[in-house]
């Protein structure tokens, strides 16, 4: 058997269901349907591929929740996750980090918030030069650097 960590051998089906409910509690789908939920962007595969040091902790995380979690309503799930956040801040912090990391590089998500998907380079961004006449009041006011006796730059 392969000793590679893969989504298939990391969590069993029941654990996967809990994991999906868990990340969807962290980032639910947007009401306007523009924004997917976290499980829709496959956070699990991302963690397995990109965070191999963190992946082995997933079983411990999902095992903090029981089957009731999956069938609970949102309010109850939020309450259970808050309890986990307080009891296991490091594990929770790691999960949130990787969930957001995956979520905010997904093309659908980026387009949903008005950005273009993909790396910033070489596309770049346009930024307005700005109105330098805003400096007029600064130049009118008698700001000035502090003078130092005996330094010729002060005599210019």
């Amino acid at each position: 058997m392969s000793d590679l960590i893969a989504t298939d051998n990391l969590l069993n089906e029941a654990q996967k269901a809990i994991f999906e409910a868990l990340v969807d509690t962290l980032v639910p789908a947007g009401e306007d349907e523009l924004m997917p939920s976290a499980s829709e962007v496959d956070v699990l595969s991302y963690i397995v591929d990109s965070a191999p040091d963190f992946a082995p902790q997933l079983a411990a995380i999902v095992d903090s929740f029981n089957d009731e979690f999956v069938s609970s309503g949102e309010e109850r799930r939020v309450q259970l996750v808050q309890e986990f956040e307080q009891a296991q801040p490091e594990l929770f912090g790691g999960l949130l980090f990787h969930t957001y990391a995956r979520y905010y590089q997904d093309a659908r998500v980026l387009e949903g918030i008005g950005l273009t998907a993909g790396p910033p380079f070489p596309r770049g961004n346009t930024v307005e030069a700005g109105d330098l006449s805003l400096l007029d009041p600064v130049m009118e006011k008698s700001h000035g650097y502090r003078k130092v006796a005996g330094v010729s730059s002060d005599l210019r």
Binding site: V78, A101, F121, N125, G144, S153, D154
Partner: protein
């Protein structure tokens, strides 16, 4: 030295460290046609490896392009013990040094910064003035490629070679706030090219300059000074980590011992040694260079090597605006700055002052993560609404405080921690002074005021920021008196007359501004003074 150490024949000048100052000094000395070698523990960077070239660009700042070497943990890094400091040392080790990850905010120190004892009765005056450095500031601006706007009333006249980088909506919005309050502000001098310059293409406004610049619009020394210095004959050896500077019987430096990429111990002989390892790396190597003649470390008869460490304690206020500000676009750390509270006014309860550096926003991932940490963006049902209100709707003001030199703020050698070559690591002992604390408090309150005047509907602030030991200064200071300083007024060790220091260690006081423009101007000035005195360099 071990028995199987390799010995390399002498070079004229041996520079240690290929960062901001090492590059400048190498380039300036190159026209002497001396044999010049620079040893650098890190590698050349490949711009295609930088984060903004990748889909997961935002994640890299938390891992292998992290600004904290203890988090980054590359083979080319050395660990630093920050346990006794509220501020962590951050840096980069490679060709370009910390300019690889710096934000490139590039103000010069002010004339008053060189004379704080005379003006305010604190710390010590520098043995040189703004005037001494003025031609070198200008030379460095040309070599690095600096964008800015002439006419800032807070400086003697100066002319940046390139027009300013864009203000964007963030800059304009905060500028309007400053105007309402009648405060000073000006477009920041930035080591970022706003137009094509010297074969480099202009900045593309990618955003996160602090994970390296894929475009090469940010002026790090691997793409400014180094290519020219190498063309002029300087040899740059990477993956060479210096353990100590060696001395001969007459107490002169005669070379260094370093470890090469294969772990071989090499004794490189040299006529002149120039330290450019920054305000932590330089005292580390000097303190590790003990001998019968120099039992307390090299160049340390004053006992000042490793003392007077100055950071610039930093805090940030962030404002959220109803309007969309396109915050994540454009150089994150460079926009406009205000010097309204730069000079001493004792009625404020502290001496000296700070610079208010306007910074732009972050990408979406960091926005979500920082929003969680600050309590402004929850996870769960309210996440999307809170995120939309925050992302691209923020402007921030960094308060960068002048730190005064205090002998108890030190870099020493850690008794246990070592790097991968077994060289003792630096240990930082630093306490933030009452003066700096009051200054930061004052600054954060003024920053909140400015953001509100600019129209922010919500303002949060905090500091000192822990991972903000960006500026490493004062640990081998300049001075006329060998009893209280390490180098003279042109960077030469008082004790060892063929040993020079050109990095941020030699600052006497820190000013309240980002230091790299001044560090490099000093390096160019020292190189020029060496050239003028070549015939009697060691007299």
């Amino acid at each position: 030295m071990s028995d199987n150490s390799i010995s390399e024949g002498p070079v004229d000048v041996l520079i240690i460290g290929a960062g901001a100052s090492g590059a400048a000094v190498a380039w300036s000395l190159a026209d002497t046609r001396m044999k010049i070698v620079c040893l650098e523990q890190g590698d050349w960077m490949n711009p295609t490896d930088y984060a903004t070239n990748k889909t997961d660009w935002e994640v890299h700042q938390y891992s292998k392009l992290n600004i904290d070497p203890n988090v980054r943990g590359l083979e080319t890094d050395y660990p630093i013990n920050n346990d006794e400091s509220p501020i962590n040392v951050v840096n980069f080790n490679g060709v370009g040094g910390s300019t690889i990850l710096y934000a490139a905010h590039f103000p010069r120190l002010h004339p008053s910064d060189f004379k704080v004892k005379t003006l305010d009765g604190v710390a010590a005056d520098w043995p040189i003035s703004y005037d001494t450095l003025e031609p070198y500031f200008a030379q460095n601006d040309r070599m690095m490629g600096v964008s800015g706007l002439a006419g800032d009333p807070m400086y003697p006249p100066k002319q940046p070679p390139l027009p300013p980088i864009p203000l964007g909506l963030v800059g304009e919005t905060v500028a309007r706030g400053y105007n309402k309050l009648g405060w000073h502000w000006w477009p920041s001098d930035s080591a970022i090219i706003s137009q094509p310059y010297e074969g480099r293409d202009k900045c593309l406004n990618l955003g996160p300059c602090m994970t390296g610049c894929s475009q090469g619009g940010k002026s790090s020394t691997d793409i400014t000074y180094w290519p020219e210095a190498i063309r002029m004959g300087v040899e740059l050896r990477t993956r060479c980590r210096v353990r100590e500077v060696t001395v001969n019987e007459s107490g002169m430096a005669d070379g260094v011992i370093y470890y090469d990429a294969d772990g071989n111990e090499v004794h490189q002989k040299a006529e002149v040694v120039v330290m450019a390892c920054n305000g932590v790396g330089t005292p580390r190597i000097l303190l590790n260079s003990t001998s019968e003649q120099f039992p307390n470390g090299l160049a340390n008869s004053s006992g000042m090597v490793g003392k007077n460490l100055m950071f610039h304690p930093v805090g940030f206020a962030q404002g959220r605006f109803e309007e969309h500000l396109d915050s994540h676009k454009g150089p994150q750390g460079c926009c406009i700055l205000s010097k309204e509270f730069y000079e001493t006014d004792e009625s404020r309860g502290y001496v000296r002052g700070y610079n208010m550096q306007i910074t732009r926003g972050t990408g979406p991932f960091s926005t979500a993560l920082q929003g969680y940490a600050s309590g402004t963006i929850p996870w769960g049902p309210g996440h999307h609404d809170a995120f939309q209100k925050q992302f691209d709707h923020v402007a921030a003001i960094g308060i960068l405080c002048e730190d005064l030199p205090e002998e108890h703020n030190t870099v020493t050698l850690d008794p246990e921690l070592v790097d991968s070559d077994g060289i003792p690591s630096p240990k930082i002992n630093y306490t933030m002074s009452e003066n700096s604390r009051k200054m930061l408090e004052h600054g954060l309150a003024r920053a909140e005021e400015a953001l509100r005047a600019a129209g922010a509907v919500e303002v949060t602030s905090g500091g000192p920021v822990q991972a903000a030991g960006w500026h490493l200064l004062g640990t081998a200071r300049m001075g006329d008196d060998p009893a209280t300083s390490v180098v003279n007024n042109w960077g030469r060790s008082h004790d060892v007359k063929n040993l020079f220091i050109v990095d941020g260690s030699i600052f006497v006081t820190s000013g309240g501004l980002n230091p790299t423009s001044t560090i490099q101007a000093l390096a160019l000035y020292i190189a020029d003074t060496m050239k003028k005195n070549l015939a009697n360099l060691f007299d």
